[in-house]
Amino acid sequence: MLREIAGTWIVVPLGDRVVDFNGLMTLSETGALLWSKLEQGADESELLAALLEEYAIDRETASADIIEFLGSLETGGVME
């Protein structure tokens, strides 16, 4: 679950996710945007569209950012 506390974006695991990821993850503004889209069930193309709409970056950079973001979530045990 994504929360904003004291100006910081924080992902708090819920339910049995606590077993695999018993910690907290802080996100940047961009990370928080991507996470909120993921919570709504967005796929990679929708994440890309969201980044391109929100930020003035090119498609290649945005794609690389998304791959890095999803990879870090997987590595951290935040997502299966």
Binding site: A6, V12, G15, D16, V18, V19, L24, G31
Partner: protein
């Protein structure tokens, strides 16, 4: 975009700096019930399990869930659920289940004796970040003397076993008094055998107002604590490694404020719904049920401006080693500005232990 390199403690400390300044209640405790099925001689809050008057005072599920929802809106991240024995609350499952979905990092305190296979399996589906089970001894004899129930030992051990087997992040802790001091090493060994984190406390608060316990007869005196060696130094068991010693020096070099996070970034709500700065300060309360959480939190801020620190502490040379705080001074002396030999002597013991450790390590 993500930061996984920071330890939880470091992150919490950083968040607290902001929260203290902006008065965001990032840490809170819900004392779901004051009743407990054990009758520990040193407990600062425990009421009998069958105390019907006490049970009638307890908030029902709807109130606790609504308070939690409001706390989340105000920015609470870490939430402690405790008692008494929290699992004794008639609506415990309903309360816990709802709160577990709100995005808190939950710590659940328990004596472990009420954990059944069914209850543990249910909890394992929505586990707290940590389940802290207090083990009061390492035998039925000690349990009988400390908690009034010999059978509670095997029940607590069974509870720990169930929780661990279900994958719940479990820690064992204990409170050491004269009656269970002889079991300290054995309790530590139990935690090691279970492969879980262990911690213990030698500092005992006097009973909160309204509780009729005589902690002074039970707790170790500062002199007895000193006889235990470096027990009061965080990491006092550590080898004389340079980083360890440096860490300790930094720890004690930091000037500690007399006031902790209470009412700045932390709150406590006792069983009937009164908000307090911390579990010890029962004379300073606000009313979140009637006024709403936000208003009660705002009013709790008066604690910081109205309560003065003991003047003798402000310039005291032992202060870096001292466990002084308004709550402790209040329970010890009945006043926020009183003098407590117990607190002062604890500071001196800790200071002597620290320098003795440095000497042993050749620093």
């Amino acid at each position: 975009m993500t930061d996984q390199s920071m330890s939880l403690q470091t992150f919490h400390n950083q968040l607290r700096l902001i929260a203290d300044k902006e008065r965001i209640p990032i840490t809170g405790g819900f004392e779901l019930t004051s009743r407990c099925n054990l009758n520990c001689t040193m407990c600062y809050v425990s009421k009998p399990v069958n105390d019907l008057d006490e049970q009638a005072r307890e908030l029902s599920a709807g109130y606790w869930i609504d308070l939690a929802r409001q706390a989340a809106e105000m920015g609470t991240l870490s939430l402690l659920l405790t008692g008494g024995e929290a699992m004794l609350h008639p609506d415990f499952k309903e309360i816990y289940e709802a709160i577990s979905k709100m995005g808190f990092r939950i710590t659940l305190f328990s004596n472990g004796t009420l954990l059944t296979p069914e209850l543990t399996a249910w909890l394992a589906r929505i586990p707290p970040a940590t389940l802290d089970i207090t083990l009061y001894g390492a035998s039925e004899e000690t349990y009988g003397q400390v908690t009034g129930s010999r059978q509670a030992f095997s029940k607590a051990m069974r509870g720990i076993e169930l929780a661990i087997s279900q994958g719940i992040n479990t820690r064992i802790k204990t409170t050491i008094i004269r009656k269970n001091l002889h079991d300290l090493e054995a309790i530590k060994k139990i935690a090691e055998d279970f492969g879980v984190e262990f911690s213990y406390s030698l500092l005992l608060h006097k009973a909160r107002e309204g509780c009729n316990r005589c902690v002074e007869e039970e707790r170790l005196s500062p002199a007895e604590i000193e006889n235990l060696g470096t027990a009061q130094i965080p990491g006092g068991d550590l080898e004389c490694s340079l980083p360890g010693i440096q860490e300790l020096q930094d720890h004690f070099a930091a000037i500690k404020p007399l006031f902790c996070a209470a009412a700045k970034s932390a709150f406590w709500i006792e069983a009937s719904g009164e908000m307090m700065p911390c579990p010890l300060v029962s004379r300073f309360t606000t009313q979140p049920i009637m006024a709403g959480f936000a208003k009660a939190w705002e009013e709790l801020g008066n604690f910081i401006t109205e309560v003065q620190a003991p003047s003798e502490c402000l310039s005291c040379g032992h202060r870096p080693f001292c466990p002084v705080c308004p709550g402790r001074i209040f329970t010890e002396t009945g006043s926020y500005i009183g003098h407590s030999d117990y607190v002062c002597d604890l500071a001196k013991v800790k200071e002597r232990e620290f320098y003795s450790l440095l000497k042993r390590c050749g620093s």
